[in-house]
Symmetry: C2
Amino acid sequence: MSSPALSVVPAALADDLGFLLARASATALRATNDALRDTGLRSRHYVLLKLAAEGDGVPQRRVVDDLGLDPSAVVVLVDDLERRDLVERVQDPGDRRTRIIAITSAGRRLLRQARPLADTTMDTLLRHLGAEQRQELAALLGEMLEAADPKYH
Amino acid sequence: MSSPALSVVPAALADDLGFLLARASATALRATNDALRDTGLRSRHYVLLKLAAEGDGVPQRRVVDDLGLDPSAVVVLVDDLERRDLVERVQDPGDRRTRIIAITSAGRRLLRQARPLADTTMDTLLRHLGAEQRQELAALLGEMLEAADPKYH
């Protein structure tokens, strides 16, 4: 039961989407980090593993764009996963300068273990929203991101 | 014009609300920091100023909860604003142990300057969403936050 006296969102900020996004994101990140503790992954590793599991892998450059991180931060994340043999860096046969991050079979096994943990956590966080509202939330965020000036991606 | 070939949201993550929230939040933060540059404020200072402008001010402890930051990070933010005479720490007359962060008149003037800059930035980021969709987005995020386990706030 939540206390009706104490609102999580202060009235002054109830329509401030910048604030709401920051709070919601921080909440999801903490909960997911907690849920993934036994896997030794943090949220960002998990997202990177998901990207690396698509098709033949993901170009390292693309990971930088997709995660919205500095290239050096992505290198650290990839190093973390490579050290545990969860991904490998392979050369793109079509472009010698491009490194592809590809998931290994150990990575796939860990991803199969991590995915329900992360999904259950988000399900719990979003338990008051129906399936349709969740899709609506994902669609609204996607629209916002697609329309944003690329320099802020 | 955005290139239709390059989607901001990778297909593997289009329904991953944790990822979407993190990306949307980072995008809003960067854009708002940019918009506020001339005020010398960053997004978090701005949110703190808004909280301090409510009623007689906001208890420092409440700022920690509202911003979802460590107490030490909040102290640094309050110090930043106090140094510029934008807020002051006052003792709660009803509870000697409670410090209230109250906005000063200089703080109010800067907030009046900052608010349209931040609002315009979010308007630009959200320009593809109608007023109703924005309210829907704020309501969905608010519901998620109100329902989240307090340990992740």
